[in-house]
Assembly symmetry: C2
Homo-oligomer: 131 residues x 2
Amino acid sequence: MPVKRQPSQRGAAKRPRAPVLRFRMRVTDGDRIAVGPGKIALLEAIESTGSITAAAKSLDMSYRRAWMLLDELNRSLAQPAVDSAKGGLQGGGSSLTEGGRQLIALYRRIEKRAEVACRDDITQLMSMLAR
Amino acid sequence: MPVKRQPSQRGAAKRPRAPVLRFRMRVTDGDRIAVGPGKIALLEAIESTGSITAAAKSLDMSYRRAWMLLDELNRSLAQPAVDSAKGGLQGGGSSLTEGGRQLIALYRRIEKRAEVACRDDITQLMSMLAR
């Protein structure tokens, strides 16, 4: 039964409470994460910045770490997500392949659909939290 | 466009490939995870073992760690998830409250509904993986 959310301390705004529910979707293959939120965020950053270097920097990640994630992702996919033809993985400008863009779109659509499909249950779960 | 999954190396069964997609749902409150897969698994273990000590052991977790997770969870909820009346958090037998059982049920139902609602997209995403 949903519990009404009433702030227990009106005016006590020092510590704003705003619980957030997030779906995180991962495709694992044994111990390895083939596709997960970190790799998708990296693809999105490459799409918006146009380079692995800038994408890594925007995510506060080393170039080496970004490169390793992309290498792992590309090897997990039937077709690579990042185009290495134009400078590509070795530096310089990089762009997503059609498959890379499709992967991002699918991943985000799944997250969104999951939230929409579960809206009532999510509301109920959130109502169980302390206020 | 879905790519047919064909094993590229028939008979090369040394490294079985069985990618698995999982939804992980977390409710965060600032940096703190109020509800997440670890805490839900711990509640389920307490329900099946009847004690925090046994639950912690079954999850390869220290008693101290289990206790801290439960304390954090109970403080996140309007009503505690674990009954501390019968020995409770200090040891001995522990049981879930009605709210604790409701939380598990909601959490698992949300995961399940999300998968059902996203089945087609999930199939499409999985078809992009290397085989």
